[in-house]
Amino acid sequence: MLRLSDLEKHFPVRRGPFRRVVGHVRAVDRITLSISKKEIVGLVGESGSGKSTLGYTVVGIHNPTGGRMEFRGQDLLAMRRADPRAVSKEIQIVFQDPGSSLNPKRSIKQTLELPLRVHGLGNRTERLETLKELMRTVELPEPYLYRSPSALSGGQRQRVAVARALASKPDFLVLDEPTSALDVSVQAKLSNLLLALSAELELTYLFITHDLSLMRNVATKVAIMYLGKICELADAQTFFAEPLHPYTQMLLSSIPVVSAEEETLKPKHVVPRGEVPSPVNIPSGCSFRTRCPHAMEVCSAVDPEFVEVESDHEVRCHLFAGIEKEVRARAADA
């Protein structure tokens, strides 16, 4: 459905009186990822990893500086140049904070009606019917159409944001941390709604988040991002059965969990250390080497390539170069 190949988004860093370009922040750096229909791809990373930039690039908020994006086999950029509206009808986004992504001066009805007007869907009465149906879809009572966002709770606002994204009947949704601003009990309800919608309306999600435990329960495929690059990409089942990249192991072992059974699933041996380096000044070679417990000489010289350890499980790490069995074994019991 969506195929990204070598996608790049670099931001120039300007300094001095003439705003000279002194460097680049490689927010998204040669990302290759393909998403098939009805998949829920979890894009997981810490702040500054470029996961949101990638999502924004897909929906067209940023223009990529390199690489290709294909949507249903066609060049997405060319499609967007030819008819931006047709693309935005198909690809929509739900933002993180519903408090700031909804216009406080507009009623819910006005907010939801705008995409229908923009895409010329229906006349006034038909639109009202669509709005009522949208409210049912996201399980909100109809009279809420005439309220303002300030009269709704955080979870309800996020439902409105989901309804707005669904208004034009898209096939593909970018969800940018849709649940992270919510309390756990509300978060669970919204995640359920999103799952039900994807099944019912055959939606495809790019689910951007920092919450690996949530992805364990939601995603069909997981991509871990670090400093603009994907470092591990796998089918969700395989991924959680055997996380391979040292960064993934560090992430997993840092998650605070609520039960003893979960504790046994975490890789115990990794002690988290260090902080994400500045994206202006990314370490040479493998960008994770400054925090990696397994860092070797080769890591500072050569940026590792993706290794397909098994089918549907790719890792970008020198530990797995050549997929030698003993190396894998060593990483597992190190």
Binding site: Q187, S191, S213, P256, S259, V276
Partner: protein
């Protein structure tokens, strides 16, 4: 050590707000105890009264519209609601706050060294130190919290630091006054998980090394489970359950606690939980008695009376009518 008063104790605290719409009754006889050297968690969702408790304690509750209509807050055995002036400042000086958002909590126009020096100068523990002594103390405390290159960082501005580094500086500022009690208000919410793990380890080390207790206020159940010895669960201004952390997580008794723990996405991959129906009540019109009853699966007529905190097991209390000692009462299945 001879037995001393509890470091921190909140007794039957009632806090309300008088606003245009009416009278909001937020805290409803909240009780809380932190003993010496204990790591205690206070958990609840947004709007449950966690921060109100914290603000009342450190004296930044906006009065009016807020007013404290009853109860007491004891720090080292003295009721700060009855103290004034120097005595109040001295008692409040026994506690330190680690705030939530490290970026918003440091002044962007002053260097780290200046801000840390202020914390040292105005604390009773370090009174009358000279410039050099203050600098020495600053470097000591910054290395204790694991800030790299403390001497150079004294001259840094907050914008030059990452979130994790700023939180380390704030922990240093909290520890430098040699407090009896640290109140950490969502100390890791703004941080990434790998940084969070490091900050929690740092706080745990600080507590173990010093004679200090900690009250960790958070909505993150995982953090509480990993960090604390004892937990209080708060819902809509009432303490609904309390107990040793391991007991409370292995056998949660209160329906709210059960729902809360079930709502957290699990690494075991059991699918997404259904969450808890309904939402936190409006404080203008709180349900009488148990405030959770409108959302509770087990709600009974008796729930319109406030349940007392009971102790069905030692050191594990629950405020729920399901655990009333009346004979023939149906017990909830522990799901």
């Amino acid at each position: 050590m001879e037995s001393r008063a509890n470091v921190f104790e909140v007794r039957d605290l009632e806090v309300g707000f008088r606003v245009f719409r009416g009278h909001l009754r937020v805290l409803d006889k909240a009780n809380l105890v932190v003993e010496h050297g204990e790591k205690v968690g206070l958990v609840g969702e947004t709007g449950c009264g966690k921060s109100i408790t914290m603000k009342a304690t450190i004296g930044i509750l906006p009065i009016p519209p807020a007013h404290i209509s009853g109860g007491s807050i004891l720090i080292d055995g003295r009721d700060i609601l009855k103290l004034r002036g120097r005595a109040l400042r001295h008692t409040q000086g026994l506690l330190s706050l680690i705030p939530q958002d490290p970026s918003a909590s440091l002044n962007p126009v002053f260097r780290i060294g200046t801000q840390l020096a202020d914390a040292i100068k105005y604390s009773t523990a370090n009174a009358n130190l000279g410039r050099k002594a203050i600098r020495k103390r600053s470097i000591e405390i910054l290395s204790e919290v694991g800030l790299p290159d403390p001497e150079r960082n004294l001259a840094s501005y907050p914008v030059q630091m990452s979130g994790g580094m700023k939180q380390r500086v704030l922990i240093a500022m909290a520890l430098v006054t040699d407090p009896l009690l640290l109140i950490a208000d969502e100390p890791t919410t703004a941080l990434d998980v790998t940084i969070e793990a490091q900050i929690l380890r740092l706080m745990r080390e600080a507590v173990d090394r010093r004679d200090v207790s900690i009250l960790l206020i958070t909505h993150n159940l995982g953090v509480v489970r990993e960090f604390t010895d004892r937990v209080y669960i708060m819902y809509a201004g009432q303490v609904s359950e309390e107990g040793a952390t391991s007991d409370l997580f292995s056998t949660p008794l209160h329906p709210y606690t059960q729902g809360l723990i079930a709502s957290v996405p699990k690494l075991t991959g059991e699918g997404v939980a259904s969450g808890i129906e309904g939402m936190v009540p409006d404080y203008l019109d709180v349900p009488p008695g148990c405030r959770f009853s409108p959302r509770c699966r087990h709600a009974m007529p008796v729930c319109s009376e406030k349940p007392e905190m009971r102790l069905p097991e030692a050191a594990h209390g629950v405020a729920c009518h399901l655990f009333s000692p009346a004979p023939g009462e149906e017990k909830p299945c522990s799901d």
